[in-house]
């Protein structure tokens, strides 16, 4: 798993509103490579809408102004698939029709051409995550913690330039949670990815160790 030169994610003067109310008045954040910034807020505070907007998924009736860029690249007008924004959702969303390795191969860019080099990238990621030999397994047979790790690996293998975490620990039980949290942050830092996490759990924010922005 490699990424290009790590760059800073910046949000400038972001305002998100619904026709009847304002969710985020004015938000500017800089996330340095390898840094994890946490956005906290109650449900309905607009924190998930913020991530959806950065990913390019926010649709009407939301009205958004402001700018999002990664390094010198402005993301606002790019379609979602061109933004190279990796997102980890609360659900792992592993594809049930593909094997574990199939899911990860789906993430590996097509620029990694040969079958052998693609397999190599996947095997390396699996063994480094303590899942060596799990490639041919049906994702449905994995435990919740294993599935969560595969979902992260799939995102990282696609070589994103930033990482968005949409309450990715919400559905894991307490023991797994700390474990997986550490796994995610280690990888994000190791790859120098600017990471933006939304959560309503203060423990998550503390574990992230970066700046915390509270909405609402």
């Amino acid at each position: 798993m490699t990424t290009g030169t790590a760059q800073t994610l910046s949000l400038r003067d972001v305002r998100i509103a619904l026709p009847d109310r304002e969710l985020i008045r004015q938000l500017s954040i800089e996330v340095a490579p390898g840094q994890v910034v946490t956005v906290m807020g109650a449900s309905g505070s607009g924190k998930s809408s913020l991530l959806a907007w950065i990913g390019g998924f926010l649709q009407a009736p939301f009205v958004v102004t402001g700018e999002v860029s990664i390094g010198a690249r402005r993301l606002n007008d790019e379609p979602p698939h061109a933004r190279r924004a990796g997102i980890l959702f609360q659900d792992d969303l592993l594809f049930p029709h593909l094997s574990v390795a199939g899911n990860l191969l789906f993430g590996v860019p097509a620029s990694v051409r040969t079958r052998a080099s693609r397999r190599h990238a996947v095997d390396e990621a699996l063994s480094e995550a303590g899942l060596a030999g799990y490639g041919e397994r049906d994702p449905a047979t994995l435990s919740g913690g294993q599935r969560a790790r595969v979902a992260l690996l799939r995102t990282l293998l696609s070589e994103p330039q930033l990482l968005l975490l949409d309450e990715p620990f919400g559905k894991l039980d307490a023991a797994l949670r700390a474990d997986f949290r550490r796994f995610v942050f280690e990888h994000a830092r190791g790859l120098g990815l600017p990471t933006l996490m939304v959560t309503h759990d203060a423990v998550d924010a503390e574990a992230a160790g970066g700046p915390v922005v509270v909405l609402g």
């Binding site: 990796g86 029709h97 191969l105 860019p109 696609s158």
Partner: protein
């Protein structure tokens, strides 16, 4: 207060019987009909002198000139129509998710679903015929033709392409509806997001991630489309080639012969049709496995975009075109019914008149009454049986397995021609052939699956706590059904009824066989008229054929809206 607590595990004898009665009512005709077709195919039908088993009927069938072409046509039209319909519907549903214009177009799906194949086929024939709308639009300005070109064969072409188009017009809306329903079982919005965050373009994401999961639920409807497209007689009569015809047409032609000895090769042709459909279904299944493994390899190569993007957009555009063509076909026939004169190459009728309607309607009263009566009777029976089965399921407390779904689909997977003749033989034995009851029963065989499939999902989705709350208040299971479940499910119940009516109105072969040719409906009359009658009269028939089901649909939607106009929770 009543302290009896109703039991959800033990169910009374009547309810326990309901699924079995239902299966008997709609599967016995299929099973008995198959036997009654296969035996004459091997020479056994004592009533007309076939006392011994022989392979003579098969020899007679094989000696028929062009029978190989009939077989090829049957397979070709079936596979082409199914593959095109599926591809178009799948691509359309992708764009449906994000584009308002496609969502507006999808409003056409319901009216087209309610329209019988025959009405659409007749309308399409008028659009693409040498004297039809397409040529008229270009004539004489572009073509120089001031009379219909004689050498041009667009309808009933020898390769059956007009027939494929006619089937696509009807099956695309059906598969769009089925795909939309299946999408509710798949987290498609989330999958499309994941695809995009991994850098995949929309159509690539759709066909790599969403569609494989949707297809698992779409399999049986697709099989039904394949079985129907291979073996339809009515669409073939209107749009298909006549010499040699598709196999099912050959069989039905011989079944209608005055020479009773023709029954034997006809039964052999019908049996062969059944085997062909079985073989095609198995081949399709094998194709699924191949496409699945090629598709997985395609997923694993990680290509983010490609030829699939323009291909999917083209297919979606063609689907939109198919929907519009279906609608234009209906409008064209409506125009004919009000036309006084409509000479070639005029694009619109020269003069309008109500005369055709005024002349035809009084003559059609009996046919319309029969059509409506059969539709109401078979749809009512189907809905009652469906409710009985679902209520039994609710009281037993668990849904049946996936295998039961195959049973429900059985009448749609076995070609009509392969069992309706045998069913007619059974009806003769019972002294029922030619009666309205027999025709209603034959319709029920096809109405029931659709009624069941449309009502089962909303029924099972109803929160069981409503019934438990009512039970806890002391209501008996009967009153829970009548006072809670039925009123809450009024809309889907009426919709199932409307769908049942539409299916009944469209039936051709079941009416013909069970009615022994003596029961005339709008559909059987329209098929008869399609071979060269006044297009104005055909317009009246097509209009009514499409209009009656639509009227029932409208009523099914309006009634709950009216009854519950003060209940926002029921909207």
């Amino acid at each position: 207060m009543n302290t009896r607590s109703p039991s959800f595990t033990k169910i009374g004898g009547l309810w326990a019987c309901a699924p079995w009665i239902t299966i008997a009512v709609f599967l016995l005709p299929v099973a008995a009909g198959l036997v009654g077709t296969v035996l004459p195919a091997f020479g056994y039908l004592p009533a007309i002198g076939g006392e011994h088993l022989s392979i003579e009927p098969w020899r007679a069938l094989m000696d028929q000139p062009g029978v190989a072409s009939s077989v090829r046509l049957s397979v070709q039209t079936g596979l082409l129509a199914t593959a095109f319909s599926l591809a178009l519907a799948a691509a359309f549903c992708e764009l449906l998710q994000d584009h308002a214009s496609y969502r507006r177009l999808s409003a056409m799906v319901s009216p087209l679903l309610a329209t019988p194949h025959v009405a659409l086929a007749i309308g399409l024939a008028f659009i693409i015929a040498p004297s039809g709308w397409l040529v008229r639009l270009a004539s004489p300005a572009l073509t120089g033709w001031d009379r219909p070109p004689a050498g041009l064969v667009t309808v009933r072409d020898p390769e059956g392409l007009a027939m494929v188009l006619g089937l696509v017009l009807k099956e695309v809306p059906y598969l769009i509806l089925m795909t939309t329903a299946a999408l509710s079982q798949v987290p498609h919005a989330a999958l499309r997001r994941v695809g995009a965050t991994l850098g995949y373009r929309p159509a690539t994401t759709w066909f790599k991630l969403v569609f494989p999961q949707v297809y698992a639920q779409l399999r049986l409807p697709v099989y039904a489309v394949l079985a129907f497209s291979m073996s339809t007689v009515e669409v073939g009569l209107i749009l298909g080639p006549g010499n040699p015809p598709p196999l099912a047409l050959l069989a039905s032609r011989w079944f209608a012969d005055y020479d009773l000895q023709r029954y034997f090769p006809a039964a052999a042709a019908a049996t062969l049709q059944g085997l062909l459909v079985l073989a095609a279904l198995l081949a399709w299944r094998a194709g699924e496995v191949c496409v699945g493994s090629v598709g997985r390899a395609w997923c694993e190569r990680g290509v983010r975009a490609g030829a699939i993007e323009p291909a999917a957009r083209t297919a979606a555009g063609l689907a939109a075109l198919a929907l519009m063509l279906g609608l234009i076909a209906l409008v064209g026939m409506a125009f004919w019914s009000f036309a006084q004169s409509w000479r070639f190459p005029a694009v619109l009728p020269g003069q309008w008149t109500l005369q055709t309607w005024a002349l035809q309607l009084p003559r059609m009263t009996g046919t319309v009454m029969t059509t409506v009566g059969l539709a109401l009777a078979s749809a009512l029976a189907a809905v009652l049986l469906t409710i009985a089965c679902l209520e039994a399921e609710t009281r037993r407390g668990h849904a049946p397995t996936h295998r039961v779904l195959w049973l429900v689909y059985m009448p749609l997977l076995v070609p009509q021609i392969a069992f309706l003749y045998g069913f007619q033989v059974v009806l003769v034995k019972l002294g029922l052939d030619g009666s309205s009851l027999a025709v209603a029963w034959a319709h029920l065989v096809f109405v029931l699956p659709y009624a069941f499939l449309s009502l089962a999902d909303p029924w099972r989705a109803l929160d069981p706590r409503y019934a438990r709350t009512a039970a806890a208040l002391g209501e008996t299971p009967w009153r829970v059904l009548w006072r809670v479940r039925m009123p809450m499910l009024l809309k889907p119940v009426l919709l199932a009824f409307a769908i049942g009516c539409a299916v009944s109105v469209g039936q051709y072969l079941p009416t013909l066989f069970a009615g022994a040719g003596r029961v005339a409906t709008l559909t059987t009359e329209a098929v008869t008229l399609s071979s060269g009658a006044d297009p104005r009269i055909m317009g009246v028939y097509s209009f009514l054929q499409a209009g009656i089901p639509l009227l029932v649909y409208g009523a099914a939607l309006a009634l709950p809206a009216l009854l519950y106009r003060r209940r926002r929770g029921m909207a």
